[in-house]
Symmetry: C2
Subunit: 294 residues, 2 copies
């Protein structure tokens, strides 16, 4: 039987991430429990996997960068907890389970998010995940990607755009900040901490730029085509449509969105050229993202 | 006329901090405005002042550590915005002005807090505020002080304690996490980034430990004795009493609390001995905190 190298590698990264996450929040108090509830409640772990894949693509040691890679998942998780709050998207469910505030209450959910975000930076500064100057560069890059000019700013822009008719350029700008920036920071984290050259880091960044867009287009497609049981982002299927949000599908049609998705995947894969064979996993990952069912 | 060296130094630090803060959030979008509204809306700036005073106490350059010192104020401000939310303390006013969510709405207030916390770590990783290993050590220390085992954890414990009868030991534990930890991290930030010896950092840490407690006792005293117009923490006077919270005053009486306050101030000042003349400002600051009227 032919071994699927991509799946084996993905599983290896996933196991590393899950094991690290599982031992992170052992205390039994409410705060640790609520952080753990959301952090260990599933998810594709795309950001840490991208970081580990990028570290290996430049010939680095994945065990060494693991704490920093996991920090990306803490940031992603905090953003989901806060997004689900009644004052924000008011979602009762996430990944098929009750959202954090439905279980622990609003105040605890806000604080669990705050604590996850804070803990992420403690992990990014973990001694030994990389050469100190590189670590500081990554902390700046991750903070910029997650903050006012990146993810948080994108969320504000997204809320401000609700009910308005946005064009393709405008929704692309929002997505670039809301999800694209942290995906870009994820590959940079792996590439830079593991000692990649500037040319390699540039290739990874170009890859992530196209991949981030592809990821969002696929999300929009799944929102229309998928169903709530398998939709990985945990949103009910069709929720974007119900909220009257402009999506790639509403603007381009299903066929047009699929065409655009494929174009971004090809672009992502082409960007990896300078990394040669080291980047096979990342290239396969792009294929996986195009064809994922949730 | 005799020049008050303490006041001149305090004013010098304060001017540096205010000028740095004023140029930080220039963009005119909602997010920058809401961050700026809370960040530049007054406050004693105790944490950055402590950091600058500590840097100078060990013979360091205050200009150099300024971005990192200011990061402490961003963290403090984010915590106030989130504390004021309806799901938390539900406070409509802060420092005599409408609280962030009353002006910008709940969703924007949550996100403004998130963005301030994130931005703080970007500033802590600013190139050149200190030798890179020291910077990473400070990022870990600040994250630990602000996160689940520090400030956020203290807030959760504080909420869990509401309506219960806490003893002195229990409220001291809560305060140590909720406010004490970040005050301790503030002096460490200045002392360590500016290259202080371990003995000097130890002296600063002991000082901050006693000072943090003193700060809280004074807050409790002002909550009873003060009035809403001058109360610097922006709470209405007597709000702790109305919320049925155990305070140093409710447990020790006003005289007992004042006695305890004075004891902590003396302890803080004694801890500074190894720093000799370099620590005169910090010693005077302890006196100032004991006698502040808001």
């Amino acid at each position: 039987m032919k071994v699927n190298v991509f799946k084996v590698t993905f599983q290896r990264y996933l196991t590393m991430v899950e094991q690290y996450l599982a031992q992170l929040l052992q205390d039994k108090d409410t705060l640790n429990q609520s952080m753990s509830y959301s952090l260990c409640g599933g998810g594709k772990r795309i950001r840490p996997v991208l970081a580990l894949g990028s570290a290996e693509a430049v010939g680095g040691d994945v065990e060494r960068v693991l704490p920093a890679a996991v920090a990306l998942e803490l940031i992603h998780t905090y953003s989901l907890i806060h997004d689900d709050l009644p004052a924000m998207d008011n979602d009762d469910y996430r990944r098929g389970r009750l959202s954090n505030h439905k279980v622990f209450g609003e105040a605890n959910a806000i604080l669990a998010g705050d604590a996850l975000l804070t803990y992420a930076f403690e992990l990014l500064a973990d001694p030994g995940v990389g050469q100190p100057e590189r670590q500081l560069r990554i902390i700046r890059a991750v903070a910029a990607a997650a903050g006012k000019d990146g993810m948080v700013g994108g969320q504000v822009a997204d809320m401000a755009g609700e009910g308005k008719t946005l064009n393709l350029d405008e929704i692309e700008k929002i997505h670039t900040r809301k999800t694209g920036a942290l995906i870009k920071a994820s590959v940079q984290l792996g590439g830079i901490l593991a000692g990649g050259t500037e040319q390699q880091v540039k290739a990874l960044t170009d890859y992530a730029q196209a991949l981030g867009l592809a990821f969002q287009i696929k999300d929009d497609i799944l929102d229309v085509a998928g169903n709530s049981a398998i939709l990985g982002n945990g949103k009910s299927a069709g929720s974007d449509v119900r909220q009257g949000k402009a999506t790639y599908v509403s603007l381009l049609g299903l066929k047009g969105a699929e065409h655009q998705l494929h174009a971004q995947i090809l672009k992502a894969q082409a960007a990896l050229k300078p990394l040669d064979e080291g980047a096979i996993f990342l290239s396969d990952l792009a294929y996986y993202i195009e064809h994922r069912q949730h």
